[in-house]
């Protein structure tokens, strides 16, 4: 049963964004460097998210030290193979972000490892649309592989403005067309997959 949508990455959060999110039927959002760890606003739950970029294992280990005490959601942008592999098996990491810089390190071995450790792959739709066709194609191939391996995908907006928020229905249709998957499976990327991450971190949404 559909109960609402979840966006796991907003770069900025203000009154206008809040109104838009509530209007679109969102129930929970994760905001980067938000002032409170978890805040229950009327009709919306806001949690703090931290995005960590790291090139090596050592750097990632240092950055992840004590990170879970202040943040609910921790996402990693791996800028090297070492960091990518470590992020896949580290329990503090909730999602691994795939964008134009990190897609080179998300290969078959990485995706297989992510499947073994049940680590979701996070894709920013707003940024994805800005990439060149070549990079879009590279991301498409990785999405296809991830879907074939039953790796959970999470679609996020990375919105810093109210008009960058994802429109749930349109996004589901767009992803269904792009990945050639049924609507029901596309819907999971903004509902049950992010909900499972929040539930794992002790945030009760519904």
């Amino acid at each position: 049963m559909l109960r609402g949508y979840i966006d796991l990455w907003l770069k900025d959060f203000n009154e206008e964004t809040y109104k838009t999110l509530v209007n679109l039927g969102y129930k929970a959002v994760a905001v980067e460097d938000y002032h409170a760890t978890t805040k229950r606003l009327p009709e919306l739950i806001v949690v703090r998210k931290k995005v960590v970029s790291a090139e090596s294992r050592k750097e990632l280990r240092e950055k992840l030290h004590g990170i879970k005490s202040d943040n609910i959601i921790v996402s990693v942008r791996p800028l090297g193979v070492e960091a990518a592999r470590m992020a896949a098996h580290d329990k503090r990491v909730d999602t691994i972000i795939m964008d134009d810089e990190t897609l080179y390190y998300i290969d078959k071995a990485q995706l297989n490892m992510m499947k073994d450790f049940n680590k979701p792959l996070e894709i920013c739709v707003t940024e994805l649309l800005r990439f060149s066709p070549r990079k879009k194609a590279m991301i498409y191939r990785r999405i296809n592989f991830a879907l074939r391996r039953n790796i959970h995908l999470v679609l996020v907006s990375c919105a810093s403005n109210w008009n960058q928020v994802l429109i749930p229905v349109s996004t589901v249709y767009l992803f269904s067309l792009l990945a050639n998957i049924p609507l029901k499976k596309a819907l999971e990327t903004i509902t049950s997959a992010p909900h499972a991450i929040l539930a794992k971190n002790g945030v009760k949404v519904w």
Partner: protein, 152 residues
Amino acid sequence: MTITISALIALMICLYLVVINKLKRLEKQVTFLKKYLKISEKTVPSRIRKRYIVFYVMGNGSLDKKIINNAIRSTWKNYLGELSLIKADPQVIVFDQKLARGILRVAHIYKKEAIAILCLIRNINGTEVLLIPLKTTGTLKKARKTMYEERR
């Protein structure tokens, strides 16, 4: 002599009947298979039916029907190509500026694409907007009803 000729004729008739029977069976099997595999031998294209998508424009600027129509068509062409644009022929047929709601008409086979395209439009002529699909209907009458009745 006459006996052999009549015997030959009888044999020929028997053979003919057997062949006919087998052919009939084969035909039955082929029709069954065609039904099973949903193979249609239609050469005439199916009728173009329409879908009406009621949408809501979230934003501050004042936009009219033509501007929104151009934005949708240019985005469609950019992402899905001209061939698809010709086949789908998306058109904003009604737009109420007071309600900030409109109706987008599109060919029924391109309904998914039309809804997907709406989320790609974030800016129209420098105005920040969001086009939110509300409902898809099969008739204009129902679309109008939805447009004026449904509050969100």
